[in-house]
């Protein structure tokens, strides 16, 4: 596969992850367990969707891709490259919080690895997103530690959430068609390198929270190649419902 095509694949999966988890985060609007959490998940949703927009714009402006709105709302399920972790329904707050913790640390590692990317638009975006993501991981770390120290029931819920999320989160790092070429060309170091750094970053927080870190036994793959859970299609239907009423409309 040509380098440009690989970069397209990389940006598409990043953008799709952000769009879908952004949509999921937005489902907490009005439902957060306390007002601050309602606002936090809503703000993070806005950030994520903004980042996906920026990524789709790179595809559009630099790599001959479609208009970002068309790309976000008109593609079929198979054309989406998000990982299964992002597709899962919000479930209860402990699940959403743990997903947010694991996902945002993974994103931080990903964007940090792109600060020196040979593909300039990604490098520029990484510089922009990095500072914003800091607030997402600060938020996640604070709540994970606090809830794990809030009594047995709370601790057990967090451990269960980690057990339920972990193999899904390992699926974030499903190898692309040719990560080695992307690494050799210094676009980014490839999924396996990101996985290693991710474990290194989340480990101290999980230890502080006294959580047991599962092993990577059965990482949930497939999303990067267009195979999805039954949860994605209904989400896409809902997300694009208004847009598809009149795709030519100006907003």
């Amino acid at each position: 596969m040509l380098l440009n095509q690989l970069i397209k694949e990389l940006i598409t999966k990043m953008g799709d992850d952000e769009l879908i988890i952004g949509h999921r985060n937005s489902e907490w609007t009005g439902l957060g367990p306390i007002m601050e959490e309602d606002i936090a998940f809503s703000s993070m949703a806005q950030d994520k969707i903004g980042h996906s927009w920026a990524l789709y714009r790179i595809l559009h402006e630099e790599l001959g891709g479609e208009d970002p709105d068309q790309f976000a709302f008109m593609r079929s399920e198979k054309e989406f490259k998000c990982c299964h972790l992002t597709e899962m329904p919000i479930g209860s707050y402990d699940f959403s919080l743990m997903r947010h913790f694991l996902f945002d640390h993974a994103e931080t590692v990903r964007y940090n690895s792109m600060l020196q990317s040979s593909f300039l638009p990604l490098q520029q975006l990484a510089r922009k997103v990095r500072g914003e993501l800091k607030y997402h991981t600060l938020h996640a770390d604070a709540w994970i530690i606090q809830l794990c120290r809030a009594g047995e029931e709370s601790y057990l819920k967090m451990q269960t959430a980690l057990d339920n999320c972990f193999q899904l989160a390992c699926g974030i790092f499903e190898a692309g068609p040719d990560d080695k070429l992307l690494a050799d060309e210094k676009v980014y170091p490839g999924e396996e390198a990101l996985y290693g750094q991710w474990i290194e970053n989340i480990y101290p927080v999980l230890v502080k929270a006294s959580l047991n870190v599962p092993e990577r036994k059965e990482p949930v793959y497939g999303g990067r190649y267009g195979k999805h859970t039954a949860y994605l299609q209904p989400l896409l239907n809902e997300m694009g419902e208004v847009f598809r009423l009149n795709p030519e409309a100006t907003w």
Partner: protein, 163 residues
């Protein structure tokens, strides 16, 4: 294009373009303008959003264009400058003072990285006390955090530091 237009006149005009979410600050005080270029056919303004997902960017771009076109009677183009990334140290001292008077605590100066410790004792914009705590790093807009002042009992917002 009218060659009598000066860079100074452009900046004077830009002072009138206020941020829609923080109406006491103009785009210069926020550090959003990165370049002003007088081209043959038009005036080019390069700007940067505070947050990537800031929903006000398009409104601000339109406001810059219409204000300058009205004031200076020349065609104006506004583009987002991708080479420069906004960070909160770009806020001018005047901007920080105006924010405080508006009831929003200004961001602390940072040296390239924001740590949570920096935000723990943010001065209350109402009574000035340091006896405050961070309630949430997210607030009513992407650029704000929520704090509580134990001294005067008021909840307040902060324009949060961003690296």
């Amino acid at each position: 294009m009218d060659s009598t237009i000066t860079i100074q006149a452009v900046y004077t005009s830009l002072e009138q373009v206020m941020d829609p979410e923080i109406p006491v600050l103009n785009v210069l005080e926020l550090g959003m303008i990165t370049d002003v270029i007088i081209e043959d056919e038009y005036l080019l303004i390069k700007m940067i959003p505070t947050f990537a997902a800031c929903p006000a960017v398009e409104v601000i771009k339109t406001n810059i264009r219409t204000t300058l076109e009205k004031d200076l009677q020349v065609p104006v183009k506004v583009s987002v400058d991708k080479e420069v990334q906004w960070n909160s140290n770009r806020l001018t001292a005047v901007a920080k003072e105006k924010l405080r008077n508006f009831g929003i605590a200004p961001p602390q100066k940072h040296d390239g990285d924001v740590e949570i410790d920096m935000m723990i004792h943010t001065n209350c914009p109402h009574c000035g006390s340091e006896n405050t705590y961070l309630r949430s790093p997210f607030g009513s807009t992407l650029c704000r955090a929520i704090h509580f002042c134990k001294h005067c009992g008021m909840m307040f917002e902060q324009f949060k530091p961003l690296s």
